[in-house]
């Protein structure tokens, strides 16, 4: 069977080469049949990648340890769901997943574009094929998942902390996000190569960008949640290079989503947008590289990893080639419109972009710093959370405020009098909240207090938008208020979906501020019957239980929780000792308070038959972080929902006759 897998990958590589060559010649000489043939090659490459993936998946599920990859990442005792997740558990498999998603998305993009953006596809297809070529090449020549060996009786197994549902969803979701950013990139490059001055590429890739961005965002929240409940150190984000790897493209994509709106409304920022989409794609490649090649332990392990140099080379090539292309097309991209006023919605979006990009570069600098210093000085210097947290506050707080200002400000030019009127309400709410919070004791963290006040401001301005819009709609068409709201959102899906997403970000901000600026931590060794007091709770350790599960020994410290004299329940933090893997995992106990969103987080650092060393964290409002994820999804869905009227309008503009006939 490995032969079939290898053959399929070679076929995929061949198709990619053909598509690049034929597609380029076809586009250059305007020979339709060549272009179509190249597009067909892309469609077929998906079939080939699918075959290779099925081969690997089958080998995994059949525990075929003659595949080195299967042996390295699974074992007979591993439940099937996690055997499947081992597909992307190792370097070769995750590259195959990238290829599968890439060819899949490319196929869909080709099919859709054939109907609505035929001429744009001419040069877009070879670009897509070029990326497919890179990944197929890696899989064929550098890191094949189909290496074989004499089959041992059992495999090495999967790290126990990866054996949970979050790890089934988190990596594929991130990959859907990373790969998704390839499509806007390819269309942008396609439009530039073809010397097009219109915006069809933006229109065509709008949904792709939004979908990829949503997957990246939600995927990261899933990862954070996994870290919180599984790894259980009491936090959810540690500015680990692997975490940063996904954050950077997401920030770039966020900036792009906003600046593209300016291009759409005012025809400005064309050059900025193209550079951003190139940056987002390059960062997605870089992110994949960071999570897979181990470069960050040190430059030494970088050269041990076979794919490292190739990835870096490809990223360098992509950047050089695409930026050269942009430079050569500068006259085409220059727009005649200028920014009319520093106080306008365009300006707000611009400031937002600058902040997002600045923060993204901050993270990039922090990630690259050890590599640079090692290359220059011989020893790597690492930067830690204090660096990142400083800039998170420096850039994040202004970004929060801008989220509140942007929607309320007019395009082109906003008069100060008009501003005063629109902002009166939200400012009032913010001030009131600030004072209330001060009275409640939020003074312990000044950035926290400022952050909360800004959040109140933004929430007020979003609420105001909904209220005003519904009132106007209601005045226009009568009916019920609920109906007016539904109509309002239905006719302006992107705008109001966007507002919901902003609300989600505010919830996220509140949760992050609460759980990091206002949290409490205590550590204490307790013997049977002893009590410790933390943040209003009283914890009493009773005893330690030992239970034998199928694959592990489960040690738990039984702890009673009380607050204000009331018994709240019993928590059981502890550890699992896994027999096969010879590893210990931490099993933290978390109690979420429904009423105030607070978490009581217990870690049994040391556990003995009659004593336990407890680390206790009280994290206020942390559950808002997870709630934010759901609101985020909802907002994205609203923004993504197809709008028939808009489709028709675009069809007219771009000459799609068949759509008109159906309309």
């Amino acid at each position: 069977m490995p032969e079939l897998g290898r053959a399929a990958l070679i076929v995929c590589l061949g198709l990619a080469v053909y598509a690049v060559v034929a597609g380029s010649i076809g586009a250059r000489t305007r020979r339709r049949r060549l272009s179509e043939s190249a597009e067909n090659a892309i469609l077929s490459s998906f079939a080939a990648a699918l075959v290779a993936s099925i081969v690997l998946l089958t080998a995994l599920l059949r525990h075929d340890f003659s595949f080195t990859y299967v042996w390295q990442h699974t074992s007979r005792a591993l439940p099937d769901a996690y055997v499947v997740s081992a597909f992307w558990g190792g370097q070769e498999g995750s590259l195959l997943l990238w290829l599968l998603i890439l060819t899949g998305f490319s196929a869909v993009a080709v099919l859709l574009a054939r109907r609505s953006a035929r001429s744009l596809l001419d040069w877009t297809a070879p670009v897509l094929a070029g990326v497919i070529l890179f990944f197929s090449f890696l899989l064929v020549a550098v890191a094949s998942p189909f290496a074989t060996q004499a089959a041992p009786s059992d495999g090495l197994g999967l790290n126990p902390s990866l054996q949970n549902p979050y790890m089934l969803a988190h990596p594929p979701m991130l990959y859907l996000g990373f790969v998704g950013l390839t499509i806007p990139f390819a269309f942008a490059m396609g439009a530039l190569i073809a010397r097009r001055a219109d915006e069809l590429w933006v229109v065509v890739t709008r949904r792709w960008t939004l979908v990829a961005w949503t997957f990246l965002g939600f995927g990261q929240l899933l990862g954070a949640h996994w870290a919180y409940v599984e790894v259980g150190w009491g936090g959810y984000f540690a500015w680990d290079p692997v975490e940063n790897a996904a954050l950077m493209p997401w920030l770039a994509a966020t900036a792009f989503l906003h600046s593209v709106m300016i291009q759409e409304k005012r025809g400005m920022l064309k050059i900025w947008n193209v550079v951003l989409v190139i940056g987002a794609f390059a960062l997605a490649l870089f992110g994949t590289f960071l999570t897979r090649s181990g470069i960050l332990s040190s430059i030494h392990s970088f050269t041990e990893s076979s794919i490292g140099p190739w990835f870096l080379g490809f990223i360098a090539f992509v950047l050089a080639a695409s930026l050269a292309l942009v430079v050569s097309r500068l006259p085409l991209l220059r727009s005649k419109t200028r920014l009319e006023s520093p106080v306008s919605r365009e300006a707000t979006f611009l400031y937002n972009n600058l902040l997002l990009v600045a923060f993204c570069l901050t993270i990039l600098w922090g990630v690259a710093y050890p590599i640079l210093t090692e290359a220059l000085r011989g020893e790597p210097i690492t930067v830690g959370p204090p660096y990142y947290n400083f800039f998170l506050k420096a850039f994040g707080l202004p970004l929060l405020v801008l989220m509140g200002i942007g929607p309320l400000i007019a395009w082109r030019r906003a008069s100060l009098r008009g501003l005063g009127r629109t902002f009166a309400w939200p400012l009032g709410v913010a001030l009131a909240s600030g004072i209330t919070l001060l009275a409640l004791g939020a003074r312990s963290s000044v950035p926290g207090l400022i952050g909360y006040t800004f959040c109140a401001f933004v929430l007020a301005s979003i609420a105001l938008e909904f209220v005003r819009g519904t009132r106007a709609r209601h005045a226009l068409s009568g009916g019920s208020w609920a109906g007016a709201l539904a109509q309002l959102v239905g006719r302006n899906r992107r705008r109001y979906g966007g507002y919901v997403v902003h609300a989600a970000i505010v919830l996220l901000a509140i949760g992050v501020i609460g759980s990091s600026a206002y949290d409490t931590t205590r550590e204490q060794r307790l013997r049977a019957g002893e009590t410790m007091a933390v943040g209003g709770y009283r914890l009493t350790y009773r005893t330690t239980t030992t239970e034998r599960a199928a694959n592990a020994l489960e040690l738990r410290a039984v702890v009673d929780v009380e607050r204000n004299g009331k018994h709240l329940g019993t928590m059981r933090p502890g550890k699992n000792r896994y027999f096969a893997e010879q590893q210990v995992s931490n099993e933290a106990a978390i109690r979420s308070d429904r009423a105030n969103g607070e978490d009581l987080f217990l870690i049994a650092e040391q556990i003995a038959p009659n004593a336990v060393f407890l680390k206790v964290l009280v994290k206020p409002l942390v559950n808002l972080v997870w709630l934010a994820g759901l609101v985020f999804l909802a907002g994205s869905l609203i923004a993504l929902w197809p709008d028939a009227r808009e489709q028709r309008r675009l069809a007219v503009r771009y000459g799609r006759r068949d759509a008109l006939a159906r309309a």
Partner: protein
């Protein structure tokens, strides 16, 4: 923009990451990367966890004493990172800075606060 970062990192500074073999004569706080060898004794929440650390590639090991959170994956033979400083021949770890590296999996297990 670059200037701001350069200034920040130069002043606030990151921590140099060294291997045990490079530690000799260094004062100040550093991050030590290496492999745990030999027996592990003591209590990280008591008088101190004691172990020896050497370069991942091999070589002489040095004494380390550490107090604070210990990651689950910590054991003899693992690669770890710990911050601290060299004090009369023993590397004294800064509390809650010990983390393990898990080579073939995605995330380095952390117990940072």
């Amino acid at each position: 923009m670059l200037a701001i970062f350069l200034v920040y990192t130069a002043i606030a500074g990151g921590t140099p990451q060294l291997r045990p073999s490079e530690l000799k004569g260094r004062t100040g706080e550093v991050s030590l990367v290496g492999k745990v060898v030999g027996a592990v004794s003591g209590d990280a929440r008591g008088s101190g966890l004691r172990f020896r650390l050497r370069d991942v590639e091999g070589g002489k090991s040095i004494r380390v004493v550490y107090r604070g959170s210990v990651p689950d994956l910590f054991k003899s033979g693992r690669d770890v990172v710990v911050k601290g400083r060299l004090e009369s021949g023993t590397f004294v770890g800064t509390p809650n800075t010990l983390s393990t590296k898990c080579p073939s999996k995605y995330v380095a297990e952390k117990k940072a606060s």
